[in-house]
Symmetry: C2
Subunit: 211 residues, 2 copies
């Protein structure tokens, strides 16, 4: 039996019920820890479920920042040092990663508070998460205000990618299952995906093949 | 053993290898079929892996559109009728959904070409996908150019949500596993997630609980 929720039903909903519902609408979400520091070496680590691919050439990624939330420290640091890291949340660290969403004061680093280890690679200034398997270093490109709800689209350029050798496939595809990367749903659901298949490039006149 | 890919390695990569790699960096992606039509009732259906939650109050969602690709028809239709639908890709329809990414001419609707059924609910003008379980109707809010790579951030306001009764949880959370929603990786990987746990709201001085 289908349920239909219309605009008026949404407006009448209890606030937390609506937050849970609307956060689930997009489907499964990527989960990344965003590592930053300010010019005084005060580090910050925050879990984001809004990271997305923006383009491969140039290699750009984006995420949505809510500057009225705990994400404010992340944003301030990115504007200061112009670098940040994305670190995939995986099955052994997802509870520590979730804990980074607690409202710690700025002088407490979530690296220490949530038992993560800062890792510095080459001369990249933002901290990576040593415990993560797949790690990406990005340069700040631009922040675009989204006035409809006072959020910010953050755009970053990929500078560095670190991951276990055996996660790489021959054609550049990454085996996220081998990396134990988890997916999210809503604000608090954690999922372990298993592969169904990959599919061949789609053409109008050719059947798909699984591989 | 870890592999480090630096900026120069990225620039030297074979094009399709880099596309596969960069598309995997964000982690697991949501997979939605976007349903539209133009003012002459010519419908279009396209799979998107870039849909994200923008905010719960007002209820806003976003996605990235590549107007130089097959996504152009979707974008033209949205500008014409100002409405569109998101329909979760699930385990029984993911191959048909992948096939919508083939380069069909505009006069051929992917609904017919890929064996989907148009569904019209209330007086909403954009077609829903009858075979989908979780369906969202959105009004066009705004399109924001992203000049860095000629993509477009599309913003929509949630007008209507349709889904099976038993997918709803008591607190507004949706059981995406019951809905058989799939997750994506890269451009062509399809995954079936299973829940690990939900976690309590994080506070600095309180341990997390699973539920």
């Amino acid at each position: 039996m289908n349920k239909i929720i219309r605009k008026n039903d949404l407006l009448a909903m209890e606030k937390n019920y609506r937050i849970n519902l609307i956060n689930c609408l997009s489907g499964y979400k990527p989960l990344n820890l965003v590592g930053t520091q300010d010019t005084k070496q005060q580090t910050n680590l925050a879990i984001f479920n809004s990271v997305f691919h923006l383009g491969a050439d140039p290699a750009l990624m984006g995420c949505i920042i809510r500057p009225n939330s705990v994400e404010r420290h992340t944003y301030e640091n990115i504007l200061e040092l112009k670098q940040f890291t994305f670190n995939h949340v995986h099955q052994d660290i997802f509870e520590m990663a979730h804990q980074t969403s607690a409202r710690y004061p700025k002088e407490i680093s979530e690296f220490q508070a949530c038992s993560f280890t800062e890792e510095y690679i080459d001369n990249f200034q933002a901290p990576f998460v040593k415990e993560a398997h797949i790690k990406i270093g990005l340069d700040f490109v631009r922040a675009q205000d989204i006035p409809e709800n006072n959020t910010i689209l953050l755009i970053g350029a990929v500078q560095m990618i670190i991951m276990p050798e055996d996660v790489f496939q021959d054609d550049g595809f990454l085996d996220l299952e081998k990396a134990a990367t988890v997916a999210g749903a809503g604000l608090d659901g954690y999922y372990a995906p298993t592969i169904v298949t990959r599919l061949s490039y789609a053409k109008p006149d050719r059947p798909l093949t699984r591989f």
